[in-house]
């Protein structure tokens, strides 16, 4: 389950070999000079990777896509909405690439758009017609921005009228 694709090993004693043969090594390395905020609380262990006592591991009972930059699962993760359908397939593809790659993020954006369509299909299949007016909060638009609301309604009506007129016109042309 671990996505262990030939990870470079963390050197086990990278610094303990000592650099004392280099003249002046470390003489200015006082942590109090470190402007980084929050001040790093280094211990000797942390440079060796996972040294903390890890929390208990949450059981993985749904599909969790994991960043290729991790060599394991975090102890705890969210389990809502595992990947599914076409959007899920696109997400699985995206997670083949690291977080530094466009091939990771752009497919995820695409999958989100596909997911919207899948959401509508799943709503319809359960006999639920998406209620755009309320889902978009247009009640508030009507209340607080009436002018804009009416303009949009009018524009929508105008477009609908134009399209209908065009269709009727075409149909008549065909029939002639």
């Amino acid at each position: 389950m671990e996505n262990n694709n030939n990870l470079p090993a963390v050197p086990s004693n990278a610094l303990s070999e000592g650099y004392s043969h280099i003249k002046g090594w470390g003489i200015d390395a006082d942590l109090k000079n470190d402007p980084t905020y929050p001040i790093k609380r280094r211990t000797d262990e942390e440079r060796f990777g996972y040294t903390w006592e890890r929390p208990a591991q949450q059981a993985r009972d749904v599909e969790i896509l994991t960043s290729t930059e991790r060599n394991n699962l975090p102890a705890v993760f969210g389990t809502t909405l595992p990947p599914s359908g076409l959007s899920g397939a696109i997400r699985r593809f995206a997670f083949k690439y690291s977080e530094s790659d466009y091939a990771h993020w752009l497919p995820l954006m695409l999958a989100d758009r596909v997911g919207v369509a899948e959401g509508i299909i799943s709503d319809l299949s359960r006999g639920h017609i998406p209620d755009y007016f309320n889902e978009r909060g247009w009640g508030a638009e009507m209340e607080y921005n009436r002018k804009n609301f009416l303009l949009k309604v009018a524009a929508g009506a105008a477009v609908a009228t134009a399209i209908t007129a065009l269709l009727i016109y075409r149909k008549r042309q065909k029939n002639q």
Binding site: R41, Q58, W105, V116
Partner: protein, 385 residues
């Protein structure tokens, strides 16, 4: 239970039959929500700008509630405790938590390493459901959640889960020295808190830039600062340079993030075509109007994709950039003191209190900046306070 349900850009609804969350890990708690907010960064999700925001998600990373169930390894919290829950999901044990970088926990997000887990903030932030619901699963319950002091107003408490600490940390990361001129870009809730907090670090002058008059009026009163509308400026950078004797501000804070307006090209590339991690206009202005050798502090949210940033000017001007998600847990003790002493009055920024059932209207009002909206609190019908 009731839960906000994301259906796609600009579309949310509230489900009545969402499943009540369950304990999934021994360190989990289930919390009954008493208040949750809609945050400016929820709008980035709402507008479909954050990758891996799956349809069906429940948003909401700013919430308080009452503990109704605890996992077998939870020892500090007990059923009945009223808690404020920091937006970061943090284990308290990993190398980053030990450095008090609670926003960067390594044990809470499978999907990405750059950011830790965040409640209700897409799968890029861990795929957790958020608090815009009646109940929420809270992992690592002994680490983040902090019992709300008896004397504290719940409306103040809910703002301590993100808005106040993020604004405060924005000022803190600015490394403000007494007398410094601080410019804050963005007069949303975070910018308002950043401007207020700048004084706490000894700023000598605080300037806020935005394009909405009602927000500028608000911040001017709330944070006793100068406030200017950039839509009446030929060039905000030039304006700020002139206002600082051509030297620039000591500290610039970007409290806007990826949906900045003000530069058409940047806006189209970043938020319409999504070819970069958001529109970086505010960050451009911050970098270009800070003094040489100055500090730019970023708390605005940007997408993970590369963004156009004038990095040449960062190098040439010798600018220090500091940025992070707020380490809420690190800052809470101090901020609770500040609220107690009346130094900060968070609840004054709440302009809208909306029943959870009307979340869609709440999102639309905030997103479209209707009805002079600054901050919206959602209240579930089951809330008892």
């Amino acid at each position: 239970m009731l839960a906000m349900n994301y259906r796609g850009p600009y579309r949310v609804r509230v489900d009545r039959d969402a499943p009540i969350p369950e304990i999934e890990h021994p360190e989990d708690a289930i919390v009954r929500v008493l208040r949750s907010c809609i945050c400016g960064s929820d709008l980035h999700l709402y507008h479909g700008l954050v990758p891996d925001t799956r349809v069906g998600s429940t948003f909401g990373h700013e919430f308080i509630g009452e503990v109704v169930e605890t996992g077998s390894s939870v020892h500090k919290l007990k059923v009945g405790d009223r808690v404020m829950v920091p937006f970061n999901i943090a284990c308290g044990k990993c190398a980053f938590c030990r450095q008090e970088l609670y926003g960067n926990c390594h044990e809470s997000n499978a999907q990405a390493t750059a950011v830790g887990g965040i409640f209700g903030y897409s799968h890029t932030a861990g795929g957790y459901n958020g608090g815009q619901a009646e109940f929420v699963r809270v992992p690592y319950a002994d680490v983040g959640p902090t019992v709300i002091p008896e004397w504290m107003d719940p409306d103040d408490a809910v703002l301590l889960t993100d808005v106040v600490p993020t604004g405060y940390q924005a000022a803190e990361m600015g490394g403000i020295l007494p007398g410094d001129t601080v410019v804050v870009f963005g007069a949303g809730p975070i910018g308002i808190m950043a401007a207020k907090s700048a004084w706490l670090f000894g700023a000598g002058r605080v300037i806020v830039i935005d394009n909405l008059d009602y927000r500028l009026e608000f911040v001017q009163k709330f944070a006793q600062c100068e406030a200017y509308n950039f839509s009446f400026m030929e060039d905000p950078v030039e304006f700020l340079k002139k206002a600082t004797d051509s030297l620039g501000a000591d500290v610039c804070i970007d409290a806007v993030g990826c949906e900045a307006t003000g530069n058409t090209l940047n806006y189209i590339m970043g938020t319409k075509l999504m070819l970069q991690g958001g529109s970086t206009t505010a960050l451009h202005w911050a970098i270009n109007s800070v003094k040489k050798g100055g500090i730019v502090s970023i708390v605005g949210v940007y997408g993970p994709i590369d963004a156009l940033v004038p990095i040449g000017n960062v190098v040439n001007k010798g600018i220090t950039i500091r940025a992070n998600q707020a380490s809420v847990k690190r800052l809470l003790p101090r901020l609770i003191e500040h609220v107690k002493n009346g130094v900060i009055n968070p609840k004054e920024i709440i302009t809208h209190r909306i029943p959870l059932e009307e979340a869609a209207e709440g999102y639309h009002i905030f997103s479209s900046k209707l009805d002079s909206c600054i901050k919206t609190v959602l209240i579930p019908p089951s809330a008892t306070i």
